[in-house]
Amino acid sequence: MTVFDIKNFSVFYGPKEAVKSVSLKIKKNKVTAVIGPSGCGKSTFLRSLNRMNDFIPNLTTKGEIFFFKENIQKTNPVDLRRKIGMVFQRPNPFPKSIYKNIIWGPKINGYKCNWDELVETSLQKTGLWDEVKDRLNDSALNLSGGQQQRLCIARAIAMNPDVILMDEPCSALDPAATARIEDLIEELSQNYTILIVTHNMQQAARVSEETAFFYNGQLIEFGATKDLFTKPKEKRTEDYITGRFG
């Protein structure tokens, strides 16, 4: 089943084309990695999917993105973002308690549920529950970087999204914390569709089933991660994964 159907999609910052006529389909409950050298448009592409780029002045787009057959330009962006969670490069918990970090999103969106239960299940799913269950009312800022990032994932999960977008979620973390997040991504992929931007090719190879390679705004190659890393079809893909540039 296709979650995102992206058709000839381009993004312009003023006159500069940062994403160039990209077409691809993202499949449900898979982990798709987006790789490519810095500045090639990975973040811009990812942020188009939940319309986070709406907030950037002078940004225009061309082409269409369908989210479960719905054109995202024609949906209410707030509704869209409820169904598409996002995790950022640096952990960005709110300066509130751990508990409030989890329930804030569902609360403002008018969800009705048992908050204690929601907090527990969200933290369980990210493996944080045992670590923080005795200090739910402590500030989230007292957690370690890795815990903060897992809290941010828990916060996204609490909204019960279909998709989770992750933009280099481990780039600010140490190897141990990174390994935990990678394990978590694997677990979550059973229930969620995950797109992960990474500049770390080993990470892409470890966690994803499909990989999209971007270069200079263009989608160069897209396919099963195994194939892309072992027998790339494109010369530029091969150069990149063998470390000849980037």
């Binding site: 939940n50 707030v78 969670g85 950022f88 960005n92 709110f94 300066p95 403002i108 969106n109």
Partner: protein
């Protein structure tokens, strides 16, 4: 290197040290003077009568030294001007930091800061000749000298301080937290009221306390526009007198130095000093306690 010459460096640091010592001595000297004159005042008037007396008439017979009417006048001005300036300042800062394009920002910020540069005397006459007549046309029983008119201009005077400090706070706010909020399906309004404001409480509080200090100490506008009638009232359309305005009244009058009338100035001044000091201390407490943490 600019400071190549070590002699120049040495004399510069000596000069700086001297200015520091000078500032400190002036402050110390003022405190000692304030303390000494207040001390001899309180030899004649019991502290209790001063602090809790409800009648202030040191220049008339029979003399009476209850400072509460002046305190009430000062706090009326503070409360009214803050009620005007805090919401307006917050709104302005929110607009500047969250909605204004860089172009608007470039013009609005300096324009606001000009408000702070206008001499306070001008504000006083503006209140007396423009705002008071306006108030009178809306509500005829308004007195010529009244607390509301003065509060409005004091509010305008402290508005730039509040909006500028809050704007700095909001502008510094990490963009990543804003994106986090929006990515959870928040509207900009929800982000502003539920994340930005609570997280900025310490800095809003600091701005507020500084503004209160400023309003307490404000002198010219209240002397000109609020009148010289020490009284305890809740009616902002009446004439009142603030602590600062009383000090001006005595300083400008022909009260002989050394007499008890003259010494009242120092007693009121000492109270003013303690109040301002107290608010600054509170401000500091808020800043260290509340920073970013739980909200």
């Amino acid at each position: 290197m600019i400071f190549k010459n070590s002699l120049f460096k040495k004399s510069l640091s000596t000069l700086l040290a001297l200015t520091g010592v000078l500032t400190l001595s002036i402050t110390l000297f003022s405190i000692i003077l304030l303390g000494k004159e207040s001390w001899s005042f309180f030899q004649k008037v019991p502290l209790k009568d001063f602090l809790f007396g409800t009648h202030w008439a040191p220049l008339l017979e029979p003399k009476s030294f209850g400072v509460l009417p002046l305190l009430s006048g000062t706090f009326m001005i503070v409360i009214l001007s803050i009620s005007l300036a805090l919401p307006l300042g917050l709104l302005t800062a929110t607009f500047l930091s969250e909605f204004a394009s860089p172009h608007w920002r470039k013009w609005l910020k300096p324009a606001l800061e000009i408000l702070a540069g206008i001499p306070t005397v001008v504000y006083g006459y503006f209140a007396l000749t423009f705002i008071t007549p306006l108030l009178k046309s809306i509500y005829p029983p308004t007195e010529i000298f009244n607390a509301l008119s003065a509060s409005i201009v004091v509010g305008i005077m402290i508005l730039p301080m509040i909006s500028s400090l809050c704007d700095d706070a909001f502008f510094d706010f990490p963009i990543s937290l804003k994106e986090g909020a929006l990515s959870l399906g928040a509207t900009p309004f929800e982000f502003i009221t539920q994340i930005l404001y609570p997280a900025s409480l310490s800095r809003i509080g600091a701005a507020l306390v500084l503004a209160i200090s400023r309003a307490i100490g404000e002198t010219m506008a209240v002397t000109i526009a609020a009148g010289a009638t020490p009284k305890i009232t809740l009616n902002p359309f009446e004439s009142i007198q603030t602590m600062t305005a009383y000090i001006v009244q005595v300083s400008l009058g022909d009260t002989p130095a050394g007499g008890i009338e003259y010494q009242t100035c120092f007693a009121v001044g000492a109270l003013l000093f303690i109040l301002t000091f107290f608010f600054n201390w509170i401000g500091h407490k808020i800043m260290t306690r509340w920073s970013w943490e739980l909200s």
